[in-house]
């Protein structure tokens, strides 16, 4: 389109008077920036319109001037007021968390407390049972120990009985009464020797001997051709059971003396019992 045609199409007047629609306005503003002629035409029409309006002016009521200028003062004051730093008192804000989430949180807290309570309860129970278990374990160990001790004793008794009833065992009774010279410190003392005639192993059974003082121990002697031969140390814990002593191939007498703990090479302490083969 020719610029002159565009200018004389009435668009200039339409735009200036505010009668142009949106598309026309945008186009006209673009044309103004692109073409000086359009701009000049616009300025010319605006000026003539303004001059005409000035010429046709109708004075408003005089008091209106004061009213309107007064309004500006009020608006300015309120504008200043708006610019002043106003510290707004904010209400304490509740968190924006929705109610459902709050309920869930509350439930979680309740569950946590409950869980902590249960933990404490079960921990106490655990400690209680743990103690009882330890006690039971100790008892059980004790019983097992006793059991094994009983079995040992049992088998010892069986051996004793077997020895006593064996036709190959020679039985020699040693008594306090048999001790010559000064006699036994405990005349009622008694012990029995079971001597295997085939293997020559010597077994000893204590029937009655006073408990030795601490640091002292009974020692069995075999008297071979009037010389004492060590036949082993006595352990009083075995009671009346048959205890294997040393192997003695030949002997005429058996005797028990009280010696230092661990025994002596030759008898030094007092003789308690004596028996002939």
């Amino acid at each position: 389109m020719n610029i002159q045609e565009y200018i004389s199409s009435g668009i200039v007047e339409s735009y200036v008077l505010g009668l142009a629609d949106e598309a026309e306005r945008v186009e006209f503003e673009q044309m103004c920036t692109l073409h000086a002629e359009v701009r000049t035409a616009r300025d010319t029409f605006e000026l003539s319109l303004e001059q005409h309006a000035m010429a046709a002016a109708v004075a408003p009521p005089v008091q209106l001037r004061e009213t309107i200028l007064q309004k500006f003062t009020v608006e300015t004051a309120s504008a200043i007021h708006e610019n002043a730093p106003v510290v707004q008192m904010r209400p304490i804000r509740r968190s924006a968390v929705p109610m459902a989430t709050r309920y869930v949180a509350a439930a979680a807290v309740v569950l946590l407390v409950g869980s902590a309570g249960l933990n404490f309860y079960y921990f106490n129970k655990y400690r209680d049972y743990s103690q009882r278990y330890d006690q039971l374990l100790a008892q059980q160990t004790e019983l097992a120990k006793n059991n094994s001790a009983m079995q040992t004793r049992m088998s010892n008794y069986e051996q004793t009985i077997a020895g006593l009833t064996s036709p190959y065992m020679a039985k020699i009774t040693m008594e306090g009464k048999g001790v010559p010279a000064n006699g036994s410190p405990a005349p009622g003392s008694m012990a029995t020797i079971l001597w295997d005639t085939r293997s020559k192993d010597v077994y000893l059974m204590v029937n009655n001997l006073p408990l030795p003082q601490t640091g002292k121990q009974y020692q069995l002697w075999a008297i071979v051709d009037n010389l004492p031969v060590d036949a082993g140390m006595l352990d009083m814990s075995h009671g009346q059971m048959m205890v294997k002593m040393k192997n003695i191939p030949r002997a005429q007498l058996f005797a028990i003396t009280l010696e230092q703990q661990g025994g002596s090479a030759t008898p030094k302490g007092p003789m308690y019992v004596l028996g002939k083969v």
Partner: protein, 169 residues
């Protein structure tokens, strides 16, 4: 301009002293009521005062900008007023289509400003400018109201505006 943007009261007093009468004339031409025109003039100056930053020098003269504010404020007032009236009196609403533009214009008003210029236009052009400029109807509304094709409305208004320019020269 910078004084206006800083809300300088003296600058606005100057603006009022120079342009209030011209703007008041335009308002009176549209609202056709002195009492109402006083209110609209107040509103127009408050709008100018508040929106002065929006004025773009590159798009036209300050007076053109103010004139359009005055015209728009006037039309808005007229519309809200006629809306209230129509609620009071239903019959006016019914007769709106048949009201003759010439009936609305009170005697005396057509002797000032653009209305005086409109006298020199042909009747058919005068009515369209009256509806478009002073009543603020869109081209589509005018086409419907006057029962003329939209293209004809546009052409007639453009032709009227071209003649208007010649008259104003």
């Amino acid at each position: 301009m910078s004084l206006l943007c800083n809300r300088d009261n003296k600058a606005f007093a100057y603006l009022y002293d120079n342009y209030a009468s011209a703007l008041y004339s335009i308002i009176v031409q549209v609202v056709n009521d002195a009492e109402l025109a006083n209110d609209v003039l107040q509103e127009v100056f408050v709008n100018i005062w508040r929106r002065i930053e929006q004025y773009d020098m590159g798009k036209g003269r300050l007076f053109t900008w103010m004139m359009n504010i005055a015209r728009n404020a006037s039309i808005d007032t007229l519309r809200s007023k006629s809306y209230q009236n129509s609620r009071k009196n239903q019959s006016i609403q019914e007769n709106v289509d048949t009201i003759q533009v010439t009936d609305i214009i009170q005697p005396g008003i057509d002797t000032i400003g653009l209305r005086k210029v409109l006298e020199k236009l042909k009747e058919e052009q005068r009515i369209l400018i009256e509806l478009a400029y002073f009543k603020g109807y869109t081209h589509e509304e005018i086409a419907e109201l006057e029962k003329i094709p939209l293209g004809t409305v546009k052409t007639r208004i453009r032709n009227a505006l071209i003649q208007l320019r010649e008259i104003l020269k």
